[in-house]
């Protein structure tokens, strides 16, 4: 699975201060999530869509992302229009389609896409390390920031290890099926990953101690708000406030 697929790029959206990105995404997402007017939520799409256009993101992976998100929404469309009590607008054999149900399903669909597009436009266009670094500037507890750093750093290492182990299984003719042998083999694979990672974490701790780790992450790079950061922050906040007024 591809990670950070939208992070490469040199548009002004990519270069925005990550603290601004995190804050405006949070504000926008909450305002949209709490809104109950389909039309207002539809208007909210303007911000993420224009940001994505400015960021010149690849269209194909974007559609794949949206497809996955809307898969779950589709599940709701199978239920909501038929089960939500309200005014009946259509009868389909034993099923009745209610106006309220359609309205609710539509609201959820637009909301979900708007928030996800905003997350892709803002958080997707930064690397995880940049975002985590920004979190440490936003007063997120130090230990939690460390956890994000280490976890993301070692996901890549452990994925490699997983591929190595699963290749070794394939070479020996392992074919996954629904039986005890498959489950036991996968369990030992996971168990082996856990044991190796546990040992690895002990080595990491020793290495950190050897280098005089004093429970602090020294941040060498400091962000500086430039005029266009302020401009984007203010206009996005104003836009979110506009949506909030019509909540």
């Amino acid at each position: 699975m591809e990670m950070e697929e939208f992070a490469a790029g040199d548009s002004w959206v990519h270069k925005l201060d990550p603290r601004v990105k995190i804050l405006i995404t949070l504000i926008f997402s909450i305002v949209v999530a709490l809104n109950n007017h389909v039309s207002m939520v539809a208007i909210s799409l303007i911000l993420p869509v224009s940001l994505i256009i400015c960021a010149r993101l690849d269209f194909r992976p974007l559609l794949v992302r949206l497809g996955i998100v809307n898969g779950f929404i589709l599940f709701l469309w199978l239920f909501l229009p038929f089960t939500t009590p309200g005014e009946i607008i259509y009868t389909l054999g034993p099923l009745t389609v209610q106006r309220e149900g359609i309205h609710q399903a539509l609201l959820i669909t637009v909301k979900s896409n708007s928030i996800v597009l905003m997350a892709i436009a803002m958080l997707g266009t930064s690397t995880i390390f940049t975002l985590v670094h920004a979190l440490s500037h936003l007063y997120v507890p130090d230990k939690l920031v460390h956890l994000f750093f280490f976890c993301f750093r070692y996901i890549h290492v452990i994925r490699e290890e997983y591929f190595r182990l699963s290749n070794a299984m394939k070479i020996r003719g392992f074919r996954p099926r629904t039986n005890m042998h498959t489950y036991r083999s996968y369990s030992y694979l996971v168990g082996m990953l856990l044991v190796r990672s546990f040992d690895r974490s002990a080595r990491i701790l020793q290495a950190m101690k050897c280098r005089g780790f004093r429970s602090r992450f020294y941040i060498l790079h400091h962000y500086e708000m430039k005029s266009h950061d302020y401009a984007v922050a203010l206009s996005s906040a104003a836009f979110s406030a506009f949506i909030l007024v019509f909540i």
Binding site: F79, L80, L147, F152, Y186
Partner: protein, 198 residues
């Protein structure tokens, strides 16, 4: 198990956020810097494990292993799960930012509860007692998570979603059994290979 963006309303999102902040605070207090690399690297393992698909009959499911996570880490499992979900939300748009609190509650509280159970009984010398409780920890964590998903969906969308909620739980029954079996195998494997991890 993720609830996507846009489905829940203010009360559920608020409840999720409050409980998650409380759980994180507790987890952070229980984890000192000595333990940090272990929690971090094991949360990477659980992140990678969630990309593994196991066959269940004609279909397949990805591993969740939140019960196992709780068994290995205790309260800090809350942190590991939160970090994993946050990364999934940003990297793949699974779950979401506004629903991060709710999704953490859904996955992490069952993990910690199952963990307590498993850590207590794993010391038993009778292998059948161990197998039973390891299975309950693995399967029970999924059951609890499924029930919480159903609860949040019904709270947000009303009584009329009961049918859908039942379907969510029913769909999780095969996953529960698979996760229970795998949890037994993994815990027994670790017990043999690296008992100090438990």
């Amino acid at each position: 198990m993720h609830i996507s963006e846009g489905v829940l309303t203010a009360p559920e999102l608020g409840i999720g956020a409050v409980f998650t902040v409380a759980g994180l605070a507790l987890g952070l207090r229980r984890m000192d810097y000595e333990k940090l690399p272990e929690v971090a690297v094991l949360s990477s393992v659980f992140f990678v494990a969630s990309l593994i698909h196991i066959p269940i009959g004609p279909s397949a499911a990805h591993l969740i292993l939140n019960g196992l996570c709780g068994a290995l880490l205790g309260w800090p499992a809350f942190l590991a799960i939160f970090v994993g979900l946050a990364l999934q939300a940003v990297l793949f748009n699974f779950g979401g930012i506004t629903t991060l609190g709710v999704n953490t509650v859904i996955m992490a509280f069952p993990a910690v509860a199952a963990g307590f159970l498993c850590r207590h009984f794993v010391k038993s010398s009778s292998s059948s007692v161990r197998y039973v409780f390891e299975f309950i920890a693995g399967a029970g964590a999924i059951l609890l998570s499924g029930l919480l998903v159903a609860l949040f969906i019904v709270l947000a969308l009303g009584q009329s979603m009961e049918a859908a909620a039942r379907l969510v739980i029913a769909a999780h029954i095969p996953v529960m059994i698979a996760e229970g079996v795998i949890t037994v195998f993994v815990v027994e494997f670790i017990r043999k290979v690296r008992p100090e991890m438990l």
